[in-house]
């Protein structure tokens, strides 16, 4: 328990404790956190690439949309303290994408329009834990929320769910991404409150 703040009671909006990680509060909004302007890449120029395996593999927008997709309902947790329950997404499992390459890389760096990157262990991207999502709430994902497609890795803080994702670089060694170089935790597990360097 921390230092008691005289006169503070709090609003205590009760989320289910097993679904709201420590230090988070629930919101019905969908706040936006971005380091720069929102990119608007035309779909005909859009590709998703896997780099770093024996051969690079790339999908156009049409090809990605033609892959088997999954609909998932997940709770999401932003490092800026909001959590949102039961968000509905549709996209392609990263497992499906990785089947296209031969690799034994233990890490990946997601890269995006706008120059943003984020790093993840392959373990956090596989076995049904991550998607390249293009629909949100039954509608095409809006640009400000990362459309046309974003990574969805809901068990980690939401900055790992990179907006405007354009591919994964497979890596032998972990390489800090954008926020990870700028003070944020290398892995970002909300249940362990891994927000910042030193957590």
């Amino acid at each position: 328990m921390g230092i008691i703040s005289r006169g503070f009671r709090g609003r205590r909006q009760d989320g289910p404790p097993d679904r709201v990680p420590p230090g988070q509060y629930l919101t019905d909004d969908f706040p936006v956190l971005s380091a720069g302007p929102t990119p608007h890449t035309p779909l005909e120029e859009w590709t998703f690439e896997l780099r770093g395996a024996a051969e690079p593999v790339s999908w156009t927008w049409e090809e990605l949309k033609a892959l088997p997709s999954e609909e998932v309902t997940k709770d999401i947790h932003c490092v800026t303290k909001w959590s949102k329950l039961d968000t509905r997404w549709q996209g392609v499992s990263v497992d499906t994408l990785l089947e296209a390459v031969e690799h034994d890389a233990p890490y990946a760096l997601a890269f995006c329009d706008g120059g943003y990157t984020t790093n993840l262990p392959i373990e956090d991207l596989t076995d049904g834990k991550a998607w390249v999502a293009y629909n949100y709430g039954g509608e095409p994902l809006e640009d400000e929320h990362g459309g046309p497609a974003r990574l969805l890795v809901p068990h980690l803080y939401f900055w790992k769910s990179a907006k405007w994702v354009r591919g994964l670089q497979l890596l032998d060694e972990d390489e800090p991404g954008f926020w990870e170089q700028n003070g944020y935790h290398i892995r970002g597990d909300p249940w362990l409150e891994q927000r910042y360097w030193g957590d």
Partner: protein
């Protein structure tokens, strides 16, 4: 709106533009955490400026309840991207929407403290003159401040009186050829409008650093 000066033992200095986390704990152990931009320039007494949000949980406490001598936990400084250190030579454009001026005022004050000669301009959009914060402090700095008052203007107002649009940005912003550094802070809507407009003016997206406030707190 209220500015709180914090006496944080063990606080190291920060970089202009960074934020910190506040954690409040009630008597029975309930806790709430929020992030606030640091209002003070590096080297000044540490301060945050908090806007009271009607449906907020932490901001009403910090604005209405906290008294001199009260204690709460503070963590930081946080963030290594939305920062300006004072040794960058490029012109600096600051674009503030409402209380988004807080970290930008810290940058403007830092410029004066370190004696930077980088040209600096602040475009500050506020609903009314009464809601402009740091008015007197900003007037004392050697920084161009351009206001636009979007909802209500004083009778003799000669400045801008509309939301930021491309024409307004074209008139106020440095030319793209000068490769300015840009810091935009405000609501998501505001930041998107300003950042998109600057990109349309020919600004490289990599020059434009943004910080957005979700209306939660």
């Amino acid at each position: 709106m209220r500015t709180l000066e914090l006496d944080a033992p063990g606080w190291h200095t920060h970089r202009a533009g960074q934020h910190l986390d506040v954690r409040l704990t009630s008597e029975d152990g309930y806790q709430a955490e929020r992030s606030y931009s640091i209002a003070s320039a590096p080297g000044e007494p540490l301060a945050i400026t908090v806007e009271r949000l009607e449906d907020g949980e932490v901001s009403p406490y910090l604005v209405d309840e906290v008294r001199d001598g009260d204690v709460f936990e503070v963590r930081g400084p946080i963030g290594g991207y939305f920062v300006w250190d004072g040794d960058e030579p490029e012109p600096v454009l600051l674009v503030a929407g409402g209380s988004g001026v807080v970290p930008l005022a810290a940058i403007a004050k830092h410029r004066a403290r370190v004696g930077s000669e980088a040209p600096m301009r602040l475009l500050y959009s506020s609903r009314s003159w009464d809601e402009v914060i740091y008015r007197d402090e900003l007037a004392k700095l050697d920084v161009d401040v351009v206001y636009t008052l979007t909802r209500e203007q004083p009778p003799d107002w000669k400045g801008y009186a509309r939301r930021i649009d491309d024409d307004l940005l074209r008139e106020v912003a440095f030319a793209a050829a000068e490769s300015p550094r840009v810091y935009v802070c405000g609501s998501t809507h505001f930041v998107d409008a300003a950042a998109d407009g600057l990109v349309r003016l020919g600004y490289d997206p990599m020059w434009v650093r943004t910080e957005r406030f979700g209306a939660t707190g």
